[in-house]
Amino acid sequence: MPADHVERLRREGRIVIVGASLAGLRAAETLRAEGFAGELTLIGDEPYEPYDRPPLSKSVLLGKASPLHTELPHRWEVDAKWRLGVAAAGLDLTAGRVRLADGDEVEYDRLLIATGVRARPWPKEEEARLDGVCLLRTREDAADLYRRLRAGPRRVFVIGAGFAGSEVASACREMGIAVTVAERAGAPLVGALGGVIGAVAAGLQTENGVDLRTHVTVTSLEGDPVGRVRAVHLSDESVVEADVVVVSLGSLRNTEWLAGSGLGAGPRGIACDAGCRAFDFRGIVTDDVFVAGDVARSPHALFGYQFLSLEHWGNAVAQAETAAHNMICHGAERRPHLWMPAFWSSMFGVNIKSVGVPPMGEQLMITQGSLAERRFVGVYGHQGRMIAAVSFDNTRWLEFYQRQIERGAPFPVEFPTMDRRPEGLRPVAADFPDPSLPTHGPTVTLSGYSPADQQLVFHPARH
C-alpha cells in the first residue's frame, strides 16, 4: 500500500509550498527535476517572482544592481500555480488545507513551509513610523533605502552591527555618506564570530570612517514636526542627528499564521527532524508537512544534534532540495539534511566567510595569516574538536577546514600551515558574550573520501 501511495503522489498528488522565495523556488525546481508530475502551488505574500536577497544589502545599495532585478534564475521549469501577493493565513492539519488571507483554501497532500523570517522592526511603533526609519529585508525595503542614500543624507544611523547592519555601513562609506553604527555588544559581529574577530571588524569600520559606538543601545528616535526622523538618542545620553535610520536588529520568524494549527511553530521557528519533517506541538513528527530555509530549526548530527536555525542562503537551498526529495520518496530513500553551515559576507572591501557554527566555539586559533593584517583564517574549538572556521580575505582555504570539521579534527590545531604566525600557536578565548555550552556526550563525524559516499560515524562518549 505505501509504495502505491508514493507512486500516486508523484503522479497526481497535490503539493503546496508556502513562501515563494529562495527555499520555495528551489524546492519547486527539485520536485519537478525529481519527477513530480502532480499539481504544484506556490503561495507567496510578496507580489514578485522569487528574488535574491544577499545583493540587497550589497550591490543594490551601491547602485550596481537594480533592486528590481535580483530575480533568482530558474534552474528548472516548475510549471506551478503561482499565488503571489496573498499570504497564507492558517493551516488545518487534519483536513490538509491551507487557508489564504483572501479567504481561499488550498488542499494539499504534502505541504512545504518556507516562510522565512522578516526584519525585526523598531519596537516603539510611533517612532518606527517616522519617515526615514528603514528596515532591510525585501526588495521594496532596498529600493527605498537606496533612494534615500542616493538623495545624499547628512548622516545615516545604523542600529545593530551584525552582518546586515555592517554591510549597510560599508555601503554608506563607499558612497561617501557619514554613518554612525550603534551596537550593544563591544564590537560588530560579536554574536556571530565572537569578540576577538569582532575587534578586527571594529578596526575595519573605524578605519573606514564609520562612527562606531559600542556598549550602547538606542533609547529613542526623535522626529521633526512633519514626521521625519531627525535624531537618535543613546543610552550614554548622547544624541546623534541623522536623517536616515536603518534598524538592523535581527529577525522574527514568520510563523504567526500557524498559531493554533497544532504544528510545533513559534517565535524560534518550526522544529523539524533531520529529514525536514515538521514536528507538531506534541513533539511528534508529521509525515506530510515539511519545512526549509530560515524558518526551519533542525537537528544537526555534527553539532550535537542541536536544533540549528540558520539564516544562510546556502542552507535555504540545500534544505529545500532535501525537503523536496524527501516529500516524494519512500522512507528508506529519505536523506538527512547534513549541510555544513556556511555564511559569507563582504564589507569594506573584505570577504568574510565562515563554516561550521562559530558561536559553539569556546576558543580560537589563527591558523593562517594575521589579525593585524585582517587577512587570516581562524579556527574555533569546542570540547577538544574543531567546530568552525572563519576567514577574512582567505576564502579559498575554507574548504579544507570544512573537511576537518566534518572529520571531528582535534583542537587545538597542532599541524603547521603555510603562513602560520606566532600569534596563532596558542588558542585564546573566542570571547562570545553568552557562550551556550551544549551538553557533553558522544560525537559524530562525517566520513567518506568523496562527498558522494559520506556517512555518519558514531563515536561513543569516553568516560
Partner: protein, 411 residues
Amino acid sequence: MTQASLVRQITDFANRADPYPLYEELRRTPVLHEEEGGPYVISSYYDIEGLLHDPRISSDAANLAAAGEDDISQAENTGLPPSFLRLDPPEHDRLRRIANSAFGPPHRPRRVENMRGEMAGIVTELIDGLADTRQIDLVDQFAYPFPVTVICRLLGVPRDDEPRFRSWVDPLVATLDPETRKTADAEFVKAAQEARMQLGMYLAGLVEERTKEPRDDLLSDLVHSQGPDGSMTMMEVLSTAVLLLIAGHETTVNLITNGMLTLLRHPDVLQRLRTEPGLSVRIVEELLRYEPPVQIVPQRTCIADIEVRGVTIPKGSRLWLVLAAGNRDPERFKEPGRFDPDREDIQHLGFGSGIHSCFGAPLARLETQIALTELARRLENPRLAEDPPPYRQNAVLRGPRHLNITFDAWR
C-alpha cells in the same frame, strides 16, 4: 605490469599519445608511492581537490628543492626570484594580488573581455594568411602564433621579438618535464639557467622603457602598481613577466590543439559548433576536463604529515597531483571517458584549484573559444592527416607537437 613502474610510465614518452589507460591504473592506488625519495602520486578527483586547498601543502620552490634537491631547482634558485606560482602565502598573495589588479576584477574587470574584438582580428588575419592552403600544421601555423600574439599585446612585448624569446622559452618549458629533469646533464642545466637570465634581461629592457613612459599594457601596470599591497620590486616585476609570458601561451597552444584534435575525433560536435557558436563555452570547459593542457602539478611539498585515504604522507614528501587523472575519475564523473559538452555539471581540475588556480584562466578560455569557433566555421570538411599526431616530450604540459589537418577549402 608491476606497480614499481607506474611513475616511470607517466613520464615515458610511449604513453604520451594516450595516457588515460595509465591514469586509470594509477587511480587503483590513489596514493601511490613507489620508492624511497620518490613522489607520492595522487590521482583521484576529490583527493586532488582536497590537497589543492590544503594549507599544509607548499608550492614554495625552496621546500621543493629541500624535498629532493636536483640540479635544475638549484639553477632556478639563482638569478631571478621565484614567481608567485612557486611561492606560498603571504608573499604569494601579495604578488598575485598586485598582478591581478593589472589583469582582472575588481580593478580591471574588462581587460580580457575587451580584447575579444582584437583576438577575433588576429585569428582572421592568421587564417587569411593561409588562404591558399589545403593542409596546415595547426600547431605551427595557428595554435602557437595566436596566443603568442595575444600575450605579447597584453603584456606589451613586441611581437617581432618572438623568435628571440622563443629560443629562451623552449628550454625553460623543457625543465618542467620530470623526465627531462631527471636526465638533465650539466650542459642542459646551464642552458636553462642561461635562458632564464637572457629572458629576464630582455624583459628588463622593456620594463625600463615602461618605467619612463607607461603605456596601456600589463608591463606598465606592473611597474606602476600602487595598491594597498604596495608595489613590486624590479626583480619581482621581471619574474612575474616571465611567468605570464610563458604560462600565457604555452598552455593555450595545447588547449587549442587538443581542442581541435578532440573535435576532429568528434565530428558531430564540430558540426554543431559550426552553427552554434555559443556551444564553444561548454566545449572549452569539457576540454579542460577531458584533455587538460596541464596534466600534472608536480611541484608541491607537504610541510606536515598528511593523511589521504588512510595513507600517511610524511612531512617533507613531494606530491604529484595528476589533474588529468582526477578529471576522469568515475567516482566524480558519470562516463568520465566520454567527451560530452552537454554534460550537466562540467567541473574539472584543468585550471587547478585553490590559491594557485590558473591566473590566466579567463584569457585562455576566451582565446580557445574564439579559436575553435572560427576554425569550425571556416574549415571546409577538415580531417586529421594522422591520428594520433606526434606529441611533445613533455608529460606535464602535454600536447601534440604537430597537428596536420587537411581540408577542402577555407570558407
